[in-house]
Symmetry: C2
Subunit: 270 residues, 2 copies
């Protein structure tokens, strides 16, 4: 039994979709979430800058005594995961590998689509991992920059959302992809609209869900599960604007953030 | 005569609309542009963080020997201008006051609308300055988060753009505003689509244009104009991703960035 908390970080609020799945699957674990709201978004920034930001957050969470680190941010998972794995004293899980494995399984030899931010898609992290796993599989990928603000504007059921989904996903439909990886933490909120566009027949891979399964497996494999009789506690930290994080966060979680949200300023931001 | 360059800064690429107008109006001045691409966007971040970032950039440009500092970013103009004015040894011009004066003039007693990022609108910087100038004028303001990615996706002439403009601007049309301030550096690229929506009858105030006029006036008033026989040089600095800045920048400028773009890393980002 290991009562230390699990650390989860993202560039901002989006990683709460991952947090939510982990909380659902592991109600007895303590969780610490960090959102780097002073420097959000990571998509579009360079490898060097994203590795630096990710290492700073990992260090902060290690000091809080986490037993496992979850990189809920797709861009940081794409660009900084190997660095974090070699630097950290605790196991590190990103959102990419769980999504890739589930997509390959679901595609069953058919084509796989990947959608995400510009940073995630241009890094080719998903594409290269899929090919490494199954070199015969065809992969289509494209960035969809309008989808994040559509989620944040809460117009997921609008004509604008439908047109944007059509604009971005028509090529995946024409190519008859078998599975589509929602490679951005915001996209699970558009799952219904995307599924309606395809009219079924495409497996939508929600990285948040797949990552939560992997976290559960990892705790078991390393024998670092918490006390099953414990009621898991939550702690939320951000590097800027805790109030607006709580506000948007509640929409992501679909419930109140009773515990509030703490501000942690980077030394360079003091 | 004063041959020192003019410094212009923005959180990213958007301030190039301001740069472009200054270059057009003052072809003989040397210009230095700084885009803080490592920490873009500023909209949504706190006053403290934006003041810190702005001061760092102002210091960098002062070391380059600028004679005048233009804050091309609406969010930084809203939240950090007074701080910069008191800290800097050279005159500082933001994008807000020029836009506000032009809007009040054009409205001629009628209602004024303001659209921008969440940070700019929530700061109430435009609204409060308009009221200070003409307390009897009615002001309507709202953030339009979808418009920046629409410009960056280069779908300014699409159905999505028209629907987003309708969603955001219908209330301004219903209220019969006389002038509308485009309080975000990206929005001038949507001027035609916005003008088509209103069908004329509304004065669209482009802060970039108005700011360039103010820069010209300020140089004259302070007698710090450059040599009129000189062919103005350009220097572009960014804090991350110079290549992609050059690429998007060329779309903003409508011409090639021959001089290239230099990387300046913040000490905290090394």
């Amino acid at each position: 039994m290991d009562t230390r908390p699990i650390g989860i970080f993202d560039s901002g609020v989006g990683g709460l979709t991952v947090y939510k799945e982990i909380r659902r699957l592991l109600p007895h674990e303590d969780l610490i979430y960090f959102g780097d709201t002073a420097r959000v978004p990571y998509g579009g920034k360079s490898v060097k800058v994203i590795q630096k930001y990710s290492s700073e957050i990992a260090r902060f969470l290690e000091i809080q005594g986490v037993k496992l680190l979850v990189v809920a941010c797709n861009t940081a998972s794409a660009l900084a995961l190997n660095r974090l794995k070699s630097d950290c004293s605790v196991p590190v899980i990103g959102v990419i590998d769980p999504g890739v494995r589930a997509a390959v399984r679901a595609a069953n030899g058919g084509k796989i689509g990947v959608i995400g931010t510009r940073g995630t898609i241009n890094s080719e992290a998903y594409q290269s991992r899929i090919i490494r796993l199954r070199s015969d599989i065809e992969v289509l990928a494209r960035p969809c920059p309008l989808l994040v603000p559509i989620v944040e504007e809460n117009i997921i059921d609008s004509e604008i959302a439908r047109l944007a989904i059509h604009m971005y996903l028509q090529e995946f439909k024409s190519a008859s992809v078998s599975s589509l990886i929602l490679a951005c933490t915001h996209y699970p909120l558009l799952k219904k609209a995307i599924s309606d566009f395809f009219g079924g027949g495409v497996a939508l891979i929600d990285s948040a869900e797949e990552t939560a399964f992997e976290v559960k497996e990892m705790l078991k494999a390393r024998r670092i599960q918490g006390d099953e009789n414990h009621h898991g506690k939550d702690e939320f930290y951000v590097s800027d604007c805790p109030e607006s994080f709580s506000e948007i966060g509640e929409a992501f979680l679909g419930r109140s953030m009773n515990s509030g949200c703490f501000l942690h300023s980077w030394q360079s931001d003091d």
